[in-house]
C-alpha cells in the first residue's frame, strides 16, 4: 500500500499559491496496475514525482513499505551534461553496485541509440531520452514493487513502444505500475484500476473502465 496522509501541494505563482492537491487522504493498493487520469495541468506528473521522492509535498506525508522506483519521466532523472553511460553508471553506483560494466552494456543494448550513448544527454531528442530512462530501469534487476511511469512511452516510436511493453509485461509478476498516459487504449491494455484527479484530490476506482468513463464524463464537455 502507498499511504497519503493529509498531503497538500501548491506551486507559488504570480497570483499567489496555486494548490494542485489539497489534503489528500487515501491508500493505494500495490497489487495491481493503476492508471492516473486527469487533463493537462491537473497534477499527474506532480503526483508521480511526489510518489517517487523527486518532489516533496508542502504538507503531509506519503509513505510506503514497498520498494518504489524513481519517477520515469521526460524531465529529471538524467543529468544533461553527462553522457548516457555516465548517467547509467551514476544510477548503478547510488544503488550500491560496484561493477557497473554489465549494466552499462545492458542499457546500451536496450536503448539502441548507437554512438550517441557516449554523447551528453542534453543533445538527445525526447525519444532517445525516454529510451535511456526506460532502459535504465529495465537493465537493473532492482525488483521494484512499484514502477512510476510518466508518459514515457508516448514519445517512442512503434518499435520501441512494443519492446518496452513486452518487457513491462514480463515483469508484471512482481512489479506493478502507476502510470500516466494520454492514450486510453494503452491504459486499458496495461492497467486494472484507475486513479482520477478531481477537485484537487484523488478518487480511486477498482475498475479501470469505471475510471475512464468517469473521467470522460467529468472532463469532455
Amino acid at each position: 500500500m502507498i499511504h497519503f496522509n493529509a498531503v497538500s501541494k501548491y506551486y507559488p505563482t504570480k497570483q499567489g499559491r496555486y494548490y494542485v492537491f489539497k489534503d489528500i487522504n487515501i491508500s493505494l493498493p500495490t497489487d495491481r496496475n493503476i492508471a492516473v487520469l486527469g487533463p493537462n495541468g491537473a497534477g499527474k506528473s506532480t503526483l508521480i514525482r511526489m510518489m517517487g521522492g523527486a518532489d516533496m509535498p508542502n504538507a503531509g506525508r506519503i509513505s510506503s513499505a514497498k520498494n518504489i522506483s524513481w519517477p520515469l519521466g521526460l524531465q529529471g532523472g538524467l543529468q544533461g551534461s553527462m553522457t548516457a553511460r555516465e548517467n547509467v553508471r551514476f544510477v548503478a553506483r547510488i544503488h550500491g553496485y560496484k561493477n557497473t560494466k554489465p549494466i552499462e552494456n545492458k542499457v546500451a543494448e536496450f536503448a539502441e541509440i548507437g554512438r550517441f550513448f557516449d554523447e551528453p544527454v542534453k543533445t538527445y531528442s525526447s525519444g532517445m531520452r525516454s529510451r535511456i530512462t526506460f532502459g535504465l530501469t529495465m537493465a537493473f534487476d532492482f525488483d521494484f514493487d512499484v514502477l512510476l511511469i510518466d508518459e514515457i512511452g508516448a514519445v517512442g516510436d512503434a518499435n520501441f513502444r512494443k519492446k518496452s511493453e513486452a518487457l513491462l509485461k514480463s515483469k508484471f509478476e512482481r512489479t506493478k505500475l502507476v502510470m500516466v498516459n494520454h492514450s486510453v487504449s494503452a491504459l486499458k491494455r496495461l492497467c486494472q484500476s484507475g486513479l482520477l484527479i478531481k477537485d484537487k484530490t484523488l478518487i480511486f476506482y477498482d475498475d479501470i473502465d469505471d475510471a475512464i468513463s468517469q473521467y470522460q464524463q467529468e472532463y469532455s464537455k
Binding site: 521522492g53 524513481w70 529529471g76 551514476f90
Partner: protein
C-alpha cells in the same frame, strides 16, 4: 539482488557516485584541470613575484617573496574555489536529486571533499618543489598552518551553505557574488601583510576573516614573521558563526532544494 543498506552506506555510495562524476567536470575530461589546479596559483605568484622584483623587493622580512606570496595565495585559492563550487553545488546536480538516494547535502559534501583534497595535494606539491629548488620551505608551526586552513574551510562551508539556500529564494544571488568577491583578492593580504600598512588603517582589513587566515598562516609558517593583527579567536568565531548559520539555513531549506 542487492542487500539492504543502512542510511550511512547509501550516503557513502551516493557520495562515491557523485565524486566520480564531479571529478570529471571539475578537472575536465582530458584531465587538464589537474594541471591548472597547480598552475593557477603558481602563475599568480610568478606574475606578482616579477612585479615585486621589478620594484626592487625580493624579500619581505627576509622571507623570499615567492614563499611569502604562496602562503597567501594558496589559502585564498581554496577560499575562492570552495566558495564558487559550493554556491553552485545544488544547481549543477539538480537532475540527480530526483533519485531518492541523493539528498541535498550529498553534492555539497562531495565538493567539499574534492576541494579540500585538491588544496592539500597542491599545497604539498608546491612547497615540495620550492624545497627542491633550495628554499627553506618547511613551516615552523605545521599545526598552526593546518588550523588556519581548517578554520578557513569551516568558514567557507558555512558561507557556501548560506548561498545554496539563498539561491532557492533568489536566482540572481550568483550575480551578486561576482561583485562581492572581486575585491576579496585585494583585501585578503595576499601581496601584503599587516606591518606594511599603517596601524590606523588596519580597520579596513581586519574585519575580513580571510585576511586573518593569511596573517595566521604566515605567522605559523615563518619564524621571523609575527602577525600584529591575526587573531585565532576572531577567525574561530567567524567560522563558528558562519557554519552554524549555514547549517541551520540549509536544514530549513532541505526540501526546497528538491521541490525546485
Amino acid at each position: 539482488m542487492l542487500n539492504k543498506r543502512t542510511s550511512l552506506q547509501i550516503m557513502r555510495d551516493t557520495i562515491h557516485a557523485l565524486m566520480m562524476r564531479e571529478i570529471k567536470t571539475r578537472f575536465g575530461s582530458n584531465r587538464l584541470g589537474y594541471f591548472w589546479a597547480v598552475a593557477e596559483p603558481a602563475i599568480g605568484v610568478a606574475i606578482m613575484g616579477i612585479m615585486f622584483t621589478l620594484i626592487g623587493r625580493t624579500a619581505v622580512y627576509n622571507i623570499p617573496i615567492t614563499l611569502f606570496l604562496f602562503t597567501g595565495i594558496l589559502p585564498f585559492t581554496l577560499y575562492k574555489n570552495l566558495f564558487n563550487q559550493l554556491a553552485a553545488a545544488i544547481d549543477s546536480n539538480k537532475g540527480l536529486l530526483s533519485y531518492r538516494q541523493v539528498t541535498a547535502i550529498d553534492p555539497v559534501m562531495t565538493r567539499i571533499i574534492i576541494e579540500v583534497a585538491t588544496y592539500f595535494v597542491v599545497y604539498i606539491l608546491i612547497f615540495s618543489v620550492m624545497a627542491w629548488l633550495g628554499f627553506n620551505a618547511l613551516p615552523v608551526n605545521p599545526l598552526g598552518l593546518l588550523a588556519a586552513s581548517l578554520l578557513l574551510t569551516v568558514f567557507t562551508i558555512g558561507i557556501g551553505l548560506i548561498l545554496c539556500s539563498a539561491m532557492t529564494y533568489w536566482k540572481d544571488t550568483k550575480k551578486l557574488l561576482g561583485f562581492v568577491n572581486r575585491p576579496m583578492f585585494f583585501i585578503s593580504g595576499i601581496f601584503f601583510c599587516a606591518p606594511m600598512i599603517p596601524p590606523q588603517y588596519w580597520y579596513l582589513f581586519d574585519w575580513n576573516p580571510v585576511f586573518h587566515v593569511t596573517e595566521l598562516s604566515r605567522d605559523s609558517f615563518f619564524k621571523v614573521y609575527v602577525t600584529p593583527v591575526g587573531s585565532w579567536g576572531y577567525l574561530s568565531a567567524c567560522a563558528l558563526v558562519s557554519f552554524s548559520i549555514g547549517l541551520s539555513t540549509f536544514y530549513l531549506c532541505r526540501f526546497r532544494f528538491i521541490r525546485s
